[in-house]
């Protein structure tokens, strides 16, 4: 009930009406039409920045994920029942996630200069936030039975984690890792902010010059890569599940 009231209030506040959207659909169609045919000649230009983006995303995502593992474990109540530790960890995690990438960019540019390194750091923090948060919630949802069994054999906390938690949470972790990697590849505009180039910059450029045919080729290339990641991710998950 409260929910519906809140929703209606929100709709009124934002003037949201489906009617407007339906009337406006043809306008959207116009723009989508402009994206075709894609400007294939642009492909050689975007190839290299795309690879750069992937490079930076791989390193940033991996390091972020590695950093996320201990934090996620410390945040999960079923692994770390002492609130004295898990609560502050959660707060720190919240803080990290709040900081917008723009601010990260400003700081890293000032401290480490423009270039891929600063970009990698920006992605690292971003990835860390997502992966740690999602993983710790997945950990809290695992089957407690094996944890119990491990507790019963006198395992230390880390042993419980290694034998009871990791096998169960691993598929989730991998899935989040790959998901974040995908986000990093396609939403790499932050790399442009720190002068690391990347595909986001070229997208900005195409849009700035209203070259939607070029934007569409960028989207297509990204799509191919995202699909490849998706494919790999499914393969890996099927192995782990």
């Amino acid at each position: 009930m409260i929910f519906i009231v809140v929703l209606v209030a929100c709709s009124i506040h934002t003037d949201a009406t489906p009617y407007q959207l339906i009337v406006g659909l043809p306008e959207m169609g116009k723009l989508l039409r402009e994206m075709f045919p894609p400007d294939w000649s642009y492909l050689p230009t975007i190839w290299k920045p795309m690879l750069e983006t992937i490079q930076i995303a791989i390193v940033g995502t991996t390091l972020g994920a590695i950093l996320a593992i201990p934090v996620a474990l410390l945040c999960a109540y079923n692994v770390m029942p002492r609130k004295l530790i898990s609560l502050p960890m959660r707060t720190i995690l919240n803080l990290v996630r709040t900081i917008p990438d723009l601010l990260f960019a400003s700081i890293f540019v000032a401290v480490f200069g423009i270039g891929p390194f600063a970009g990698m750091l920006a992605l690292l923090f971003f990835s860390f936030g997502i992966i740690a948060k999602l993983t710790f919630e997945a950990i809290e949802a695992i089957d407690p039975g094996p944890l119990e069994a491990m507790t019963a054999v006198g395992a230390s906390r880390i042993q419980v984690i290694a034998f009871g938690v990791v096998p169960q949470a691993l598929p989730y972790f991998v899935s989040y890792l790959l998901y974040t990697f995908e986000v990093n590849v396609r939403a790499a505009s932050v790399l442009g902010l720190v002068g690391a180039g990347g595909i986001g910059l070229l997208l900005d450029r195409s849009l700035g010059l209203f070259r939607y045919d070029r934007a569409s080729i960028i989207i297509l290339l990204t799509l191919v890569i995202v699909l490849a990641i998706d494919y790999g991710s499914n393969l890996l998950r099927r192995k782990l599940l």
């Binding site: 400003s106 200069g113 902010l193 002068g195 910059l201 450029r205 849009l207 700035g208």
Partner: protein, 303 residues
């Protein structure tokens, strides 16, 4: 979100009938949607819409809705699909919108105080242009454009008049090809460009005049540490444009409203504080031919 008190004392309260010469398709607004992208050469940026809503609403007698966008592409697209009536567009955006998208017509050009080349401070002269400059470190051996050959230059995005189009075109004129003779690095933000220069990551940067002010709080002696080697030609100030099917009578009315607001002591203060505009003058599309010419020079031919 609409301005509240619409004192309907304005003569043109019966729109649509008085525009005798207007073609049948001309658009007559009943609510004016304004969107602006604050221009990059302002030194105080406020994302404030409300004050302008009230000022304009009082003058025009119809509700006014003002929104802010950090990106001009969205404004141009919104104008082309008739979702926005009036846009404050930077010069290159205006040219693209007018020539390429057929989405906007020029109404006014903003005036700002000029900037003293020597000190980087504002003058008291109202001008309708600004400039771009190429900055190097104080102790750099680079003295002229020609010296930039083989050096590393920090550009802004290629769509930026001050951060790429003008300086690159003039570099070309000086015999240095901006694509092949120098090593270009794209930096987002004029402030970040200045920092990159100070850190020695690039040998020179192209920024608006005088972007060094933006980092002055952090690096107070920025003016002592850097040197300007080149000022570009005048770049027209940002525009007030209307969607291309706007009714002529309303174009005049809107123009007059802006000019009046700038002259009004209270209104003037507000637009200065928020948009650093100190006045408006009738826009002339010819002023923007230089923008077209420079864009062409760097290979951004307008279709």
């Amino acid at each position: 979100a609409c301005s509240s008190n619409v004192s309907n004392n304005n003569s043109a309260s019966t729109p649509g009938t008085d525009g005798t010469k207007s073609e049948s398709t001309a658009y007559v607004p009943t609510e004016l949607k304004v969107q602006f992208v604050p221009s990059q050469n302002a030194d105080t940026l406020e994302a404030k819409a409300k004050p302008l809503e009230k000022l304009l609403g009082d003058k025009l007698g119809i509700p006014v809705k003002v929104t802010v966008s950090p990106d001009y592409n969205t404004i141009v697209e919104a104008m082309s699909s008739k979702q926005v009536d009036v846009g404050f567009l930077p010069p290159n955006a205006y040219v693209l919108a007018h020539d390429n998208r057929k989405a906007a017509d020029l109404l006014l050009q903003a005036q700002r105080y000029g900037i003293d080349d020597a000190t980087g401070k504002d003058t008291t002269e109202k001008v309708n242009f600004y400039k771009s400059m190429i900055v190097v470190k104080k102790d750099s051996p680079i003295k002229s454009l020609a010296d930039l050959k083989g050096k590393k230059i920090g550009w802004q995005n290629v769509t930026s008049s001050a951060g790429y189009v003008y300086p690159a075109a003039e570099l070309k004129k000086a015999g240095v090809d901006p694509d092949t003779d120098v090593q270009g690095v794209t930096i987002k933000g004029h402030d970040a460009a200045i920092l990159a220069l100070l850190n020695g990551q690039v040998d020179a940067v192209a920024v608006f005049q005088d972007a060094r002010n933006t980092v002055k709080k952090e690096i107070p002696d920025i003016f002592e540490k850097t040197r300007v080697i080149h000022y570009t030609a005048k770049i027209p100030n940002d525009t007030v444009s209307v969607r291309s099917d706007m009714d002529q009578a309303w174009r005049d009315k809107i123009s007059q409203a802006f000019i009046d607001i700038a002259k009004d002591p209270k209104g003037g203060e507000i637009i200065k504080e928020i948009y650093t505009h100190v006045g408006y003058e009738k826009g002339d599309d010819k002023n923007f031919d230089s923008v077209r010419e420079y864009a062409e020079a760097v290979g951004q031919t307008v279709k």
